[in-house]
Assembly symmetry: C2
Homo-oligomer: 343 residues x 2
Amino acid sequence: MTLDPRKQKVLRAVTVDYIYSAEPVASQTIARKYNLGVSPATIRNDMADLETEGYLRQPHTSAGRIPSDKGYRFYVDVLMEPEEVPEATARQVRTALQSQTGGLEVAFRQALRFLSLLTEYTAIVFAPHLKGRQVKNLHLVPLDSRNVVVMLVTDPGFVQSRVVELASPLVEGAAEALSRALTQLLRGTTVGCAGRSLREDLEEVVSDPALRRQLLEMLGAGEEGAAGGGMQAEGATNLFKHPEFRDVERIREFLSLLEGKATLVELLAKIANAGGVTVRIGGENHSADLYPYSLVLAPLACQGRPVGTVGVIGPTRMVYSRSISTVQLVAECLADLLERFGR
Amino acid sequence: MTLDPRKQKVLRAVTVDYIYSAEPVASQTIARKYNLGVSPATIRNDMADLETEGYLRQPHTSAGRIPSDKGYRFYVDVLMEPEEVPEATARQVRTALQSQTGGLEVAFRQALRFLSLLTEYTAIVFAPHLKGRQVKNLHLVPLDSRNVVVMLVTDPGFVQSRVVELASPLVEGAAEALSRALTQLLRGTTVGCAGRSLREDLEEVVSDPALRRQLLEMLGAGEEGAAGGGMQAEGATNLFKHPEFRDVERIREFLSLLEGKATLVELLAKIANAGGVTVRIGGENHSADLYPYSLVLAPLACQGRPVGTVGVIGPTRMVYSRSISTVQLVAECLADLLERFGR
DNA sequence: GCTTAGCACTCTCGGCACGAGAGTGCTAAG
DNA sequence: CTTAGCACTCTCGTGCCGAGAGTGCTAAGC
């Protein structure tokens, strides 16, 4: 069931040509541009075979061929020649991200900008969510007698803070004592798993009801924190440069895909547990919404545990080689960053 | 130079009809639907006059009329009947926003969601920027011996925090002493106006170079903080429901307007100092990028000082009456919130 | 048996003409 | 000043046509 060598060459030629031209590829074009040493007629026969085997599609009779999802998959797995990110560019990205002092959120945003700039697709990140992270530290910082900042630090160095208006004023020194007690109580607790016992323990330690409610909320359902529990995207407009987005309906679909998030988050969450760069092509996503898109995604881990996913989304007609190396680069930089913060 | 009463009625009819139908309005349509008691021919004459006076435009000969910017302006200032937000909806918005405990960022985001939902346009907020705010409090919270969270609290209760890796370990108790010293030094300082003297003072108080750099950065150029120093938008896809966005070029323009931000931020910053709801129609914005859009904007203030702007952006063919009342409602809720945090 | 030249066939796409429909502007009468 | 009537203009949808692109098939060649 393997493809004979010439058919592989034809499939590669069709794929590469279509990726760059966005036009169905004709047998003659291949004969002219990629010298396989055979005539258009022969190529035509191979293309017909490749179509019956499911690697190519024809938009309509008497048009050239374009790769099917299966064709892209074979291309990515077997035929594609890897493309390195130019060393100069790579260095630039690395230094920019490593010298980042503005905290993880800012670094993530910058990573997205790089990704969308270098690939010309839309960069997405499923930011490390607080849910599932362990509490490292909890601090109360009094602003004045009635207001206090609650600061929750979780595992890889995410800081989430909120201002609480207390029901009754704090006495001098109470904040520090409470901070110590709470940190001791909560250290190691997993955010999002606020069990009954925790609730009872809190009632003992914290007398102020407003503060207690706020703490429970922060430790609770894993809401979007400052680090962005949800998904972020950058460069949505990039996609509109590509001819598959000539019509408005497609644009609307794509934007509501990004805004709706649910479909994407589900996929990104799954990938967070994968190893290495994953390529998902069109229908492989088993979701009608994602059918016209391909994604190149890399998991993010901190001390061996998965914390999120980063990558790009674009049309199935994607420059996979470049996307893969770029995503890899950016993911590595972010991994370094996560280790640095995660100590 | 004032318009005679019947012409006003005609102008109102054309505007209202066009706002809802998005089709050029014919004299006969007006005669049929808005009974002004005159024949289409008379209305035609009035429309011709209104056109020479600049209130109406004709997309091409033998099409109906549509309002010009000047026409919309007259409609908004004189002809429009105010439309209240239904009490039930208003109550819902108020309670949802007032019971918000997740800090200003979350509340702002929710406000945007309401706005975009209720108006069907794109909601934007120029979030209170730290630049220009006064420092209220500065705290250092040690995480372990080498890492410390720097937390900067500015005037209306914005919290900005970053993790710093110190050049040399902290001794016990040093963090608290430093926090006190820094708060005393910095209280009342305006963020973004880090003068030379401040820099010298910091050198005396803070010996750690990494920490010093971080502090200067946070106090410095007024970068985007956690509260979002820049602009946020919600519901960009809303606009694509409207027929003026049938073609891809317009969509791309709009999205890059939102992503580019500069043009909008400039306008929003100006409005931040205004009083009450401001309506900007098309060309009134004196910016080619904004020419096809109208904005309904309200300033946000805290203790009498301007801190930002909130509103919606949509096509000039906008349901102004509804937009105005909705923006007003949301702005009031946010003002309450700002007062609560600003104590 | 694989490759290839030749040719008929199919499908898309741009251009053009045409007619219907919508709406105006003008004129002249009420 | 208002209005009926009518000619005029412009858009838009439709159908037609021809050019061009590309294939599939057949039969001949190696």
